[in-house]
Symmetry: C2
Subunit: 252 residues, 2 copies
């Protein structure tokens, strides 16, 4: 779209726009150092404060990140591709693999901060799982760390009455994970619903995911249903948006 | 998760956390006015600056928004539910409805800022559509406005050689829209890929979508393929994250 208002942009915005264009065109690649305040002052003939504002626009957008004492760098973006539909196909968890292995290619994924507990279901969970008041759920919390960087927080809720005594109540759910165990219990997941939102992280989430400023989280809420339509698991996930591309493939 | 470090949180953070809990529990609903600086000073015995910081935490997270002269309010969140798979089913566009009508229920959706032009394909588009260098695309830009609020920017790219002379090159594509016309031209969309990312908006995007501070955009890039696997359209969409829930339903 033609923009004849260009000259009305404040100076710091014009500098930020031209740096952004240089990044989008590939002149500065992921991880490259951007011109510093002194460079921008010399190139554009502006005051230090203007140069600083220009760089802070790119930081606020999440396009660039500051490294203490080293300068401002183009955010290195090598996201995971999370294929929503293929990764949950039964052939995958049906023969003992983790659904996560679909996403990580050759990269090192670790799971940490695993906790398993039995808790009264939060209202929103009880409503979807159709539980009686005060009925308990098995709650599985964990964090996924890729190449040393935390990328995802996950909390699963399953009706305690369904999973009692199974490996789902243990830290290690065994080959094929929770979905393979649910199948053995007679509650094979046949249908999934994923709901996706995005917002800024809370301070806690930003700390747990080691996130840079100016980066949102993506929330994925997955509900697994048996072929009779009974919901048997809700998994609430919080993803560092800079670490993921979500992909869904489907027919018309 | 037990948090024994609670007492180490700064005061403004403790106040923000307790307001957030009150919002999440429903004590303050969407659109409700939150306690003001004076209320927080009295309730918590803190200085004005601390009260102000507490409210700004919630604004930065996008949980609350300030209205000039009126106070700080819980962000009214009545998002659109965008059902990624059902909305693109052939029965829908196959009989003359717009795919968008699947999402809007009883609400008033307007399309504005429609432009149609023929342009040399940007590199990333030419690469996916498998075009020769300098080959042109038909570019359809528009903005979607729901209940008076802009919610989505959309830019579609189609090979000019495919759509030349059809209603796709007009502002009004006719009943069933672009996909119905592609079918008539012998390029019926049979398969879709949607890729989803999230980041903070640029200043331009925030202005075009009338977004509040602390709100990210969701990017959806959809590619439509014929049943021979030929890509015939790329649609790059920019969504106000506070206005949408994306939903995908699929079988194991």
């Amino acid at each position: 779209m033609a923009n004849t208002d260009d000259d009305r942009r404040p100076k710091y915005q014009r500098i930020a726009d031209s740096l952004r264009e240089a990044i989008q065109s590939g002149e500065y690649g992921p991880g490259d150092r951007l011109p510093g305040e002194n460079d921008l002052m010399a190139t554009y003939g502006v005051a230090r404060m203007t140069a600083r504002q220009a760089l802070s626009v790119l930081r606020d957008e999440g396009v660039a990140e500051a490294r203490k004492g080293a300068g401002v760098f183009v955010r290195a973006f090598r996201p995971l591709r999370r294929r929503g539909i293929q990764r949950l196909s039964q052939e995958r968890w049906g023969n003992g693999r983790s659904i996560w292995s679909a996403d990580i290619e050759d990269r090192a994924l670790e799971v940490d901060q695993v906790t398993v507990s039995e808790e009264v279901a939060p209202d929103r969970i009880g409503a979807v799982l159709d539980l009686a008041e005060d009925e308990t759920v098995c709650v599985r919390r964990r964090r996924f760390v890729l190449d040393g960087k935390p990328v995802l927080l996950s909390t699963s809720y399953l009706p305690a009455s369904v999973v009692a005594g199974s490996a789902i109540t243990q830290e290690d759910t065994g080959p094929g994970g929770t979905y393979a165990r649910l199948a053995e219990l007679g509650y094979k997941p046949a249908h999934f619903r994923e709901e996706i939102r995005s917002r800024m992280p809370s301070k806690d989430e930003a700390a747990q995911l080691g996130m840079s400023a100016g980066t949102p989280v993506v929330l994925v809420c997955r509900t697994a249903f048996t072929d009779e339509g009974r919901p048997v698991e809700i998994n609430e996930m919080t993803l560092d948006a800079a670490s993921y591309i979500l992909e869904y493939d489907f027919d018309a």
